[in-house]
């Protein structure tokens, strides 16, 4: 089974890059078996649909505009997206993650298991670092993903050099 961790976002607009930061953090601190792919999807949306279609299980990490405090992390499953519980008018791109999943579904290529982990951002200012409240959440989101993958039977090691903060 191929599992994809898809980090979405823009790395140079501080918290907007959260998904990509998570992918980089995982790469830096853990070792993964071949069947788990970490993917820096940037903000391409529909142009990277194939990455989703190639996997059997997908975790998307992105920012989320909803009520709550910066750093709050929410989770959605595929049915929330497909049943319009996560409405279509979503990202400023309008061809964002959701539209991409719809098209995949219509093509018959969309995997059954998709989870979206979304964090509420604090700042979209230019900069390649996360704001403190999101930076604090980074290891926790990474740990959450790692634990879930371990629960699925994947062997995930921790890199020696890293001090998990």
């Amino acid at each position: 089974m191929r599992t994809l961790i898809f980090g979405a976002g823009n790395l140079i607009l501080s918290d907007e890059g959260f998904g990509v930061h998570v992918v980089k953090y995982l790469e830096d601190n853990y070792t993964f078996p071949e069947e788990v792919e970490l993917f820096d999807g940037g903000t391409l949306g529909i142009m990277v649909t194939h990455k989703i279609e190639e996997a059997e299980r997908v975790y998307i990490v992105d920012t989320l505009d909803t009520a709550g405090e910066p750093g709050d992390v929410f989770r959605y499953e595929k049915e929330d997206i497909m049943l319009n519980r996560l409405p279509v008018k979503l990202s400023p791109h309008q061809i964002g993650i959701q539209e991409m999943l719809y098209i995949s579904e219509m093509r018959g290529g969309c995997p059954d298991a998709i989870s979206l982990l979304g964090v509420i951002p604090k700042s979209f200012d230019p900069g390649n670092e996360l704001s403190p409240s999101l930076n604090e959440k980074l290891p926790q989101v990474a740990r959450l993903l790692v634990e879930e993958l371990r629960g699925m039977g994947y062997e995930i090691g921790e890199k020696q050099s890293s001090a998990l903060n």
Binding site: T66, R85, P126
Partner: protein, 560 residues
């Protein structure tokens, strides 16, 4: 009585764009284009190592990652007068052309087709007739009755299940929709299929770039793609064969599916060759460098004024001083401090937000001008420049389509003309990709395996500009280097040219000008405005990407 319509945001584009139009008697009489996102990302480059700039700037934009990398590396190379080995130029050219192919496929099918194609009408189509029409357009093997029937069945299931999803917000049944059900079905089937081919183009870029999105193989002075035909870890015979296969498949899709679909759809919308001209001054820079000094190019650049090919002034090199000196950016109506126009090397990015003031400042977009004139950039500019210089392939495509559709070169100044020019460009890009692969193999065959001229950044002050004719038009990155660090950096991107607000003399930008005179049948469903704006393929160059679940009944589980 005039009516004011605000569309905010414009959907199916990159970035956040607001368009305001004043409608009088069913026609647009005035328009405002407003980029609704702070675009100060250049500021984070100040003080960094110029060798790393290309890597950062790939994150400027959501889609055009490769193009910013290319422009940036050229800016540093121009500043330091570095030559680029032929192999590196060919490798860059293949990546540029394949990126364009990918970009144009996605624009045609996924970003603009739904303005012209009525998805729901496809349910009424006869798949057999659809197959007969598609097969009359080209010999592409995917156009079978079975294929069209399968797509229709799937579409039916989605509609019956209330899962129209992405399509739910479309203007179905709008009086401006003109395609017969069969053509709608063909377009929907190819819309789904197109994803496979944009992916092959992305893979081709990744074979050379190491990664896509965000290529990894550039260095100041060339590429980091080691060449050794016998070595498994480098660019070798096996990789080249794989590349050739991917690029051949995408070429066939572009030339046998996308282009025929475009011509077929355009034939039902000939009136759209009349609307949406706007600014008919055009600017394109030469592209596909074929020597080591960026002085010899496959496709010409140049300026055309008032839509008149007789005014064509060619640009033959990226060192053209009239071009370099002629570009300025104004902020009279943009949310930045000051009112004067500055050359990009002196450019500033100091925000001064006021809210939307239709006679004052109303956009985050600056107003680039060439010698004080508003210019339109993009595929029409490049196609006309190529036509003006007698490029045989471009000439043939334009003349053939003109004969088929009963249009002339002047009809390129229009909404449909822009879609047509992009199709011509995609056709050319698909061939050029394979052409540069042949040239690369031939050059390596001669024994030349050089792929970079390693370069140290010297101390002192240097200024450079990197021009690139990107899918959306002329892109330029401007760099000032001092003491081995970046002192100033400005990107003048194609959508800034086209989406620009009025300048200090009140001249509107291309989006604003092109909407004037456009029909609007139903102000509450301004499909015609979307058609014209989408024809530019807007890419409001700062890619914020937040998921925004604004519905009421959301199942949201807080996990941390």
């Amino acid at each position: 009585m005039s009516k004011r319509i605000t569309i905010d945001p414009i959907t199916r584009i990159e970035g956040h764009l607001r368009i305001d139009v004043e409608v009088n008697g069913g026609q647009v009489s005035k328009a405002w284009s407003s980029a609704q996102m702070w675009r100060g990302i250049e500021t984070i480059l100040k003080g960094r190592d110029p060798q790393d700039a290309w890597s950062y700037v790939q994150r400027f934009c959501g889609v055009c990652t490769t193009v910013h990398a290319i422009s940036s590396i050229r800016a540093v190379e121009h500043a330091l007068n570095v030559e680029v080995p032929l192999n590196a130029q060919y490798i860059r050219n293949i990546m540029i052309a394949q990126h364009s192919v990918q970009d144009h496929i996605v624009h045609f099918y996924h970003l603009s087709a739904l303005d012209w194609v009525d998805i729901v009408s496809a349910l009424k189509a006869d798949p057999k007739k659809a197959a007969a029409i598609a097969q009359s357009l080209s010999d592409w093997p995917g156009n079978s009755e079975k294929e069209f029937k399968a797509v229709q069945d799937k579409l039916k299931a989605f509609v019956e299940g209330g899962q129209l999803g992405i399509f739910a917000s479309g203007y179905w049944g709008h009086p401006a929709m003109k395609l017969p059900p069969e053509v709608n079905l063909i377009a929907v089937a190819h819309y789904l299929k197109a994803l496979d081919y944009q992916r092959k183009a992305a893979q081709a870029v990744a074979v050379l770039g190491g990664k896509n999105p965000h290529i990894q193989n550039l260095v100041v002075g060339g590429v980091a793609t080691a060449i050794n035909m016998e070595n498994l870890a480098t660019l070798n015979m096996e990789r080249i064969a794989y590349l050739r296969q991917l690029m051949t498949e995408t070429r066939d899709f572009v030339q046998k599916v996308y282009y025929p679909d475009l011509i077929a759809i355009a034939s039902f919308y000939k009136d759209w060759f009349k609307y949406g001209a706007g600014v008919t001054n055009y600017l394109a820079v030469p592209e596909f460098a074929e020597d080591t000094k960026n002085t010899k190019f496959a496709l010409a650049g140049g300026m055309i004024y008032n839509g008149d090919l007789a005014t064509f002034k060619p640009i033959t090199t990226h060192q053209d001083q009239a071009l370099i000196q002629g570009i300025t950016e104004g902020v009279a109506h943009a949310w930045y401090e000051g009112a004067q126009s500055l050359h990009p090397w002196e450019g500033e990015t100091k925000p001064e937000y006021t809210d939307f003031q239709e006679n004052g400042k109303y956009s985050w977009c600056k107003s680039p001008r060439f010698n004080g004139k508003a210019m339109q950039v993009g595929p029409p500019a490049q196609v006309m420049a190529a036509y003006a210089t007698g490029n045989p392939k471009v000439k043939k495509l334009v003349d053939d389509a003109a004969a088929k559709l009963g249009i002339g070169l002047k009809d390129i100044h229009s909404t449909m003309g822009r879609l047509f020019a992009r199709g011509v460009r995609a056709h050319v890009m698909a061939d050029l990709s394979l052409d540069y692969l042949d040239k690369l193999v031939a050059n390596i065959g001669k024994g030349d395996t050089t792929y970079a001229n390693p370069t140290e950044i010297p101390s002192g002050e240097y200024k450079g500009v990197g021009f690139h004719e990107a899918p959306r038009g002329t892109l330029s990155h401007w760099i000032v280097i001092e003491g081995k660090k970046i002192k100033n950096y400005q990107a003048v991107v194609p959508s800034t040219w086209n989406a620009s607000p009025r300048d200090e003399h009140g001249q509107p930008g291309p989006y604003e000008a092109c909407l004037v005179g456009n029909p609007v049948a139903q102000p509450e469903k301004p499909l015609e405005v979307l058609r014209t704006i989408h024809s530019f393929d807007p890419c409001i160059a700062c890619a914020v990407h937040t998921v925004d679940p604004e519905g009421k009944e959301i199942t949201k589980v807080k996990v941390l």
